[in-house]
């Protein structure tokens, strides 16, 4: 470092590198922390519901709106924060519940049609769920058993009063026909005997509940109303919190080990430019995370795979440039001319090489299922960002580097003195 100019460019380089490092260390953790994690990384349930048309009734848009509202209601009853409920196609509903402690409970409540019917022995429907005004779970004071008290609306009260009156007057006490059966989703809950006419519009479902919680859940379902159409769970992915945490930890290890190995590889093969590439990678990672964060993207396992893979592919741009650089140096070009030529001639190659991968990722995004979409997003974004950092930042840094006299030695670029034409020796 003889000249003042050399020292100046050294300091400039040092400041830029320190700034990148500081940015990397400072912003990395908060960005990662702010990232929304998918169900596969923190546990939760993904449910795909299919509304089913019956011969009498085809599923309509209104049914789906009602279905969505009821599902939102049920999920709220479970006290789950930030549920994602969205329509898919004309007759499907996606429900995503993250961080549920008991996914089974959630699935149970979601899958129920909650069609409540009171039927006489000859199968006549007396009242149904839509005649309900309220449903509450209580503990019976005498038996200490959980039960559900029901209140009917005006029409329900009238029907119920009429039918009970009719049963009481038509059949003698103890007659099996003097019963009203209570069905939920066509399954018999209880079949109580009608002691006397009930004009008050109140009824009780008693017995058959294993716990108060079970009764409370059913009451909540009844309050929310029956589904307008029957639904079926056609896809369900429930990941327990332990598996989620395990996957998260494993992906972290894979990412760290992968990154360190790639950085070492670049350092060993490309020396000084390799270090430059590694600094570019820091910025690359920050940009990718920042974009993901601003898109409010959810990071999933396939998404992480896409990220790591994109880093592996990303350094490709640097490799293409550096191989060119070496070649130009061996052809006797000066360092500055070689760097410029390297970037200029490598650009089309880099573009070509990445365009096809992005094309494939786009196809995957538009046709892929939910799980692989995250992969398509992170992969294509990673590739585009890598191209950007390779042709802007790496170039800028490399120009700073070659301005420093101490960094103008050929071996720092992986080229031996003996490999370049005699005429060009000693004056790079």
């Amino acid at each position: 470092m003889a000249g003042g100019k050399g020292t100046g460019s050294f300091f400039k380089l040092a400041i830029v590198l320190v700034a990148i490092l500081a940015l990397g260390i400072g912003a990395f953790q908060p960005l990662l922390q702010a990232m929304k994690l998918g169900l596969d990384l923190r546990g939760g349930v993904y449910i795909l519901l299919q509304a089913q048309s019956t011969p009498e009734h085809a599923v309509t848009g209104e049914d789906m709106t009602a279905l969505e509202r009821i599902m939102r209601d049920r999920v709220d009853q479970l006290g789950i924060a930030e549920p994602v409920i969205q329509r898919e196609g004309s007759d499907r509903l996606i429900i995503q519940l993250a961080g549920v402690n008991n996914p089974e409970e959630a699935v149970k409540m979601i899958g129920k049609t909650a069609l409540l019917e009171f039927k006489t022995s000859d199968g006549r429907v007396v009242v149904s769920g839509k005649d309900l005004k309220d449903a509450r779970a209580v503990i019976d004071q005498q038996t200490r058993e959980p039960e559900i008290t029901l209140k009917f609306n005006a029409e329900g009260t009238k029907n119920f009063a009429e039918t009970t009156q009719e049963l009481v007057s038509s059949y003698s006490r103890g007659d099996p026909k003097r019963h009203i059966a209570i069905y939920l989703d066509n399954q018999l809950l209880t079949n109580p005997h009608v002691d006397e006419a009930i004009p008050s519009g109140e009824a009780v479902i008693r017995g058959g509940f294993a716990s108060f919680e079970e009764a409370a859940n059913l009451a909540a379902l009844l309050r929310g109303g029956a589904l307008p159409v029957p639904v079926q769970i056609i896809e369900r992915r429930a990941v327990g919190p332990t598996l989620g945490a395990d996957s998260l930890a494993k992906s972290k290890t894979a990412i760290i080990v992968g990154l360190v190995l790639i950085a070492l590889f670049m350092l060993i093969f490309y020396r000084l430019p390799g270090i430059v590439a590694n600094f570019s990678l820091i910025i690359y990672a920050l940009i990718v995370l920042a974009v993901l964060w601003s898109l409010k993207a959810t990071l999933t396992l396939p998404g992480i795979a896409g990220l790591l893979l994109s880093v592996g592919m990303a350094v490709d741009a640097n490799i293409i440039i550096y191989e060119r650089l070496k070649e130009e140096l061996r052809n006797g070009k000066t360092l500055r001319a070689a760097v410029d030529a390297g970037f200029k001639r490598a650009f089309t190659t880099i573009f070509d090489a990445n365009a096809t991968t992005v094309l494939a990722a786009l196809v995957l995004y538009f046709l892929g299922s939910g799980t692989v979409r995250g992969f398509a997003v992170t992969l294509s974004m990673g590739i585009i960002t890598s191209m950007f950092t390779a042709i802007t930042l790496t170039r800028f840094l490399l120009h700073l580097v070659i301005g420093v006299p101490a960094f103008q030695k050929l071996w720092l670029y992986g080229v031996k003195e003996s490999q370049i034409p005699v005429a060009a020796r000693g004056e790079i």
Partner: protein
Amino acid sequence: MNFNFDFVRRRKWWYALSLLIIIPGLIAMVLNWPSPLNFGIDFTGGNIIQVQFDQPVTASQVREVLGGLNLGNSSIQAAGNNEFLIRTTEINEEQTDQVISALRDKLGQLDLKRNEKVGATIGRELTIKGIEAMAIAWVLMVIYITIRFEFLSGLAAILALIHDVLVTVGLFAIFRWEVDSTFVAAILTIIGYSINDTIVIFDRIRENLRLRRKETIEELVNRSINQTLTRSINTVLTVIIALLALMLLGGETTRTFALAMLIGTISGAYSSIFTASPIWIELRIFSRERHRQAASKAATKAKTRKATSH
């Protein structure tokens, strides 16, 4: 690094090596028809239950419990540490509950780690969408390559791509590794990525053709491959590092994906170095031969016409 390998001369050997994997792969698929690959529940529909018991439990104990529920023919895979992956045919919510509570009652406390169900409709859709995606990706690649390269290079690149997909699918068929929805993602990424090396080498061939020295086409292609060899190998190495890290450390869920990608990437590097350019030479010789024949035919015709006109 300066290399000087003669890739072109031994091309028959390279083709043979590729066929050594592709043909058994195809045979395995035919023999296993109608399930050429070991399709997982993502494609076939079905349930997966992953449980971990608090105390030592054996697979046969698990099977016994399942047998009691008429699910004795389910696949039970021990995953170490009293953990089991149970794959059943498609069962509904109540049956799933029964399985879990039966396991809990008979074998003790357990942690339900995963409980997945994929309906047969979803599986069919995935298959159809996967095939669609694959077809569209192919068409896009062909269009892209045709725009960027002349016809013969494009054809050679596409053949190399088919090679990579066949090698990947073939190995999965031979070893009956289970394929899930991420497999489709892997194949698509392979289609997109493995073309890279081929493009780089063809780019160099094109550049060298413009500044052609006194050399045969075989020599020129060899020179081009050797010039780009370090790049071809290094860029694949970084991807392989990333994939190995995923496969060995990233856990169960992304393993299939990483494995498929790994095979595809290695095959892609192989095909672009060893088979794509030789195939291009082959095609070039073939089409030149046809041109020459056509030309000489035309010439003889012209001659005879000339003769008669005299």
